[in-house]
Amino acid sequence: AQSVTQLDSHVSVSEGTPVLLRCNYSSSYSPSLFWYVQHPNKGLQLLLKYTSAATLVKGINGFEAEFKKSETSFHLTKPSAHMSDAAEYFCVVRGSGGYQKVTFGIGTKLQVIP
């Protein structure tokens, strides 16, 4: 069985300050982990993915995430928030093996205050 927990449903930051969106996962196998972003009325867009290579993963728009197996975490960070970062962010786990089930977290809504 696998699951994803996004610890914060809403995060509010000031423009220019760091962003931290938290994600913990559980999986029976070595999982692949992803972060997707969804802007209002837009489709889901891949930000970055972890697939058992480097534990620090860099994505688009200055985001990065660090896979920490000991903490079963995959938190998303960005050094300096931009107004355009305001969106909903989803942490996603995908299993390996014959059936690669994909499970979404409930999402974290990021608000950026000018």
Binding site: S32, T51, S52, V92, S96, Q100, V102, I106
Partner: protein
């Protein structure tokens, strides 16, 4: 095509009507997923196909929901006798499986079909 195409983008149905939502995955993508995203919620898994085989339909909320992918490419999600609680955006995603069936391949999502049941 270049991306995952879903149609219709918007559908308004009267309660009790049947609806059919279509997904055209990226050519060659073996894996296909359907998700239901209610307003303000994250996507909830509905069903998964590998080629034409429906490997998991555990997320379908009731027997009013039915999905098929007869030739392993285009998929249709059908909802019979729609209810107001069926109102949501229905997302389709496709991907390649890894050669070793790793989960490394990225899901590419369509823009979704927004269903409103009155």
């Amino acid at each position: 095509g270049a991306g995952v195409s879903q149609s219709p983008r918007y559908k308004v149905a009267k309660r009790g009507q049947d609806v059919a939502l279509r997904c055209d995955p990226i050519s060659g993508h073996v894996s296909l997923f359907w998700y239901q995203q209610a307003l303000g919620q994250g996507p909830e898994f509905l069903t998964y196909f590998q080629n034409e085989a429906q490997l998991d339909k555990s997320g379908l909320p009731s027997d009013r929901f039915f999905a098929e992918r007869p030739e392993g490419s285009v998929s249709t999600l059908k909802i019979q006798r729609t209810q107001q609680e069926d109102s949501a955006v229905y997302l389709c995603a496709s991907s390649l499986p890894g050669l070793d069936f790793s989960g490394a391949n990225v899901l590419t999502f369509g823009a979704g079909s927004r269903l409103t049941v009155l």
